[in-house]
Symmetry: C3
Subunit: 401 residues, 3 copies
Amino acid sequence: MDTDIIKSHIERLSRLDCRGMYRNDFLLTWEKSDDEVHATFIVAEIIRELRQQNISCRIFDSGLGISLFRDQSTRTRFSFASACNLLGLALQDLDEGKSQIAHGETIRETANMISFMGDVIGIRDDMYIGKGNAYMREVARSVAEGFQEKILEQRPTLINLQCDIDHPTQSMSDMLHLVNTFGGIENLKGKKIAMSWAYSPSYGKPLSVPQGVIGLMTRFGMEVVLAHPHGYEVMPEVSQIAAKNAAASGGSFTTTHSMEKAFESAHIVYPKSWAPFAAMEKRTVLFGNNDFDGIKALEKELLDQNATHQGWECTEELMAQTHEGNALYMHCLPADITGVSCKNGEVAASVFDRYRKPLYRQASYKPYIIAAMILLSKMKSPADTLDRLLETATPRIRETA
Amino acid sequence: MDTDIIKSHIERLSRLDCRGMYRNDFLLTWEKSDDEVHATFIVAEIIRELRQQNISCRIFDSGLGISLFRDQSTRTRFSFASACNLLGLALQDLDEGKSQIAHGETIRETANMISFMGDVIGIRDDMYIGKGNAYMREVARSVAEGFQEKILEQRPTLINLQCDIDHPTQSMSDMLHLVNTFGGIENLKGKKIAMSWAYSPSYGKPLSVPQGVIGLMTRFGMEVVLAHPHGYEVMPEVSQIAAKNAAASGGSFTTTHSMEKAFESAHIVYPKSWAPFAAMEKRTVLFGNNDFDGIKALEKELLDQNATHQGWECTEELMAQTHEGNALYMHCLPADITGVSCKNGEVAASVFDRYRKPLYRQASYKPYIIAAMILLSKMKSPADTLDRLLETATPRIRETA
Amino acid sequence: MDTDIIKSHIERLSRLDCRGMYRNDFLLTWEKSDDEVHATFIVAEIIRELRQQNISCRIFDSGLGISLFRDQSTRTRFSFASACNLLGLALQDLDEGKSQIAHGETIRETANMISFMGDVIGIRDDMYIGKGNAYMREVARSVAEGFQEKILEQRPTLINLQCDIDHPTQSMSDMLHLVNTFGGIENLKGKKIAMSWAYSPSYGKPLSVPQGVIGLMTRFGMEVVLAHPHGYEVMPEVSQIAAKNAAASGGSFTTTHSMEKAFESAHIVYPKSWAPFAAMEKRTVLFGNNDFDGIKALEKELLDQNATHQGWECTEELMAQTHEGNALYMHCLPADITGVSCKNGEVAASVFDRYRKPLYRQASYKPYIIAAMILLSKMKSPADTLDRLLETATPRIRETA
């Protein structure tokens, strides 16, 4: 059994300062130090290696992983379930429709009521600008207080499974995919990545993916280009963070209104539809006022505006303009594929087909990233914990030797 | 590690006769002997201590805990899930909407079909007077018979997660909260507890909470006062049980139509809305006849009647009249808080806020009470089982030492 | 502890060639060799014995069993959940309503996205002729490819939990029930089994049960008679398989349009409603064309046709004509019982009541059959694995000795 790789990963991990992650939440990547981000990647890799070598990663003998999805989800739902299970936690979904929450429970109360034996809480809440992340923070504050007051016997830590601002389990998985594709984090220095808007017939897709990508990828010395039509700006706060990150890491962060320019000589392209931030802000206000006529009018306006940008498609012609005509194509999936899932979409069918295998691999990191986030938030000495898992080497599947 | 407390608890447990709980159901507290009630408290405390000291309570290597909720639930749902998980059972929810039950399966058949590997079944069925508890008994009878006929290889035991008559996991948790707040069960002798109706704009809340409270709290020598407006009587059978209990325990059980009188010098107050029993009985008949006009008329009548009792609110003035102005305020949550969750409710916001911490603690006992009920119904020698858990001391979370 | 039976079962198992089941799916019984079918029965029996003797069958320390039900289910849902749990897998249901599948994910993509940590996938998809089994094969092909491409780190194996063609977990459980009722598989040679259509007021019940029964039961030298009114033919492909099986096994496969003839001297009767195959094929086409008027017209036509066959009921008179008036009555449940669940149904209430116990026992084999299918698809040396479980003898319930 090849345990040398694992041992060297653990050794690297032990040199990083990730004390701040213990009993803490993972809500935005830019709240995490470089050491903490790197520790997350390393732990994800270790867990993947352990599992591949049929070594159990159960650090919990019992305990609950609580999920709350306020929007549809397949891959993140299964990734969270997989991560919890791998570490030994049982999943317990908080289905707001089946609960008494509609009956006027406060956030603080609900957060404590579900957490008596909850070790971790994963939340997706990405529908309204200004709401999702704020909600997560209120839950986190509530359970932190509950723990301090000894109402809760453990501190349930939160994992942001996508909010209005960031989608850290996505961007961290994306980044780990890049690290492995390019053969090491140091090889990403100077590489050009185009995070580009792309046309989709549906409208209103969350901004958290492009925001997550520019907020994270700018930390590794890459040339990060954000491309979109006029009016499709992302949150200004996140643009500022991206610019600051780029300056600190020796990379760059630029924006353009030309998909062609963004793709030119890019090593990595990430074409994806999203909704205009300003319009989404307006929509949140309209919802707050129960102004459904206003929402309808806004939707029509947005769809009309959207329809004028059908040229923003990741075609073979555009791909040919990338570095050696061979940029890594990325997507968080599911993609809107021209002629497959819609008439005109984000990407040409031939491009998507060619990159199917790396796209699936990109998605495959998410369970490990989530497991790493959980482990780092629950273990005081993560390197020691992983060391012991390796030494004990309980088989995940008890086949005969 | 402080294991002396646990050892002394186990020692006390070993002196109690709880043989009748083995392979038996927990449906009504008043069907349980004093020894059995005490055993449940002690086992709950032991499990809590074990978990706090990071000692695993898994007595099952595999097995299913089956839940059936015929009414909304957050805290009881999570409490049951937590208890099952803590003991090593996986939760399997019977969602009647997704099953073929609508297609005419008999209770006996369904009960057996879901129970081939079911160790415990938790049911909430509190909507119709005369129905919920009867349903539970039919399920219990069915699986007991299935076990006897060797159709089932184990006897799935039932836990009443709230029926039309009792809410034993609530009242037992409430009682354990009292025991710990007052420093021992013996200190509750002579204490006055006011179980009082309170106004809520919604109508039709189950009677099982007040009934459960008067049915249980009268067993410990307390002065139990039941207060409600005219017409809000609880089930006469339960009142009789409360009176009998009080006589036997050296306490008292009285009723009053004055919230003020109930609160006067009370050590504990439990103000909560419930529906009039007689009206709920009528409603069950109307439902049975599919008389939806009749139900609408009844609802209107009840809401009108209800609206005349807005004075029944747990205010600061009332709290000031309690023992040293400092009674313990209790509620099963969620409460209807005046000015917060409704215009006029069961309790003033300032009172509720002041007692938030003990209220959350009160709720925190439920997972342990349920776990104790399960353990006592499945283990032939519960003291020995707990002794062995303590000795083995498998860590719940495998952190490094 | 009586382990001799288990040891002799394991010894028999070790002589069978079931290498083809490893990393393979269980979709149709007639795709499995005789050795593989027998191995499934033996493993099911071993697992049942182990569990009865309180020996843990956990071969997985962690891992997911994924379920996808495209039709209502109680017993198969709980059987799959039980089997997964018994082996150590956590259940994760893919609820298509809560996922992004409605948003146009391809089957290949979804299959891979949910399977990163999926060890087994159970699917029920029985609504449309030509669709269910084809869908399962596409999922199987997708994850097999994902495993080959190293997208997936393990090969999730599929279990057919009922499709349009076969219902192997049902027919295999039914057969194991026969083996145990008649005291051994060899005693079934020459026994007559009547798989008969029976009247039910509902229409459109899947054909997979009768098809599964004639496709499997013909392999053991039995006289298999398929009885139904004119127009209620099953899929011709399955009839051909049944005929071929019967020829090979030294039994017979005949069809008749008389329930009386089928029951005459039968040792086993299985009266059950199903929809006419040709009509179901037509219905699938109509659905494909969104021809809802056509569907309504077809339904009316079928119900009218159906109503003319109310004489097809399993009555006491018919039962009296069976072998010694004492044939084993079988049903997959729930049955339509005359005067109980409907006015006129598949079976007389007195017959059903008399056979309630064996009917429940028949159902009780399903969790074990599913567990056996999973184990045989995941373990390279199943006999060695089971040997080790027996030797280790970890208790399922940790009661004191």
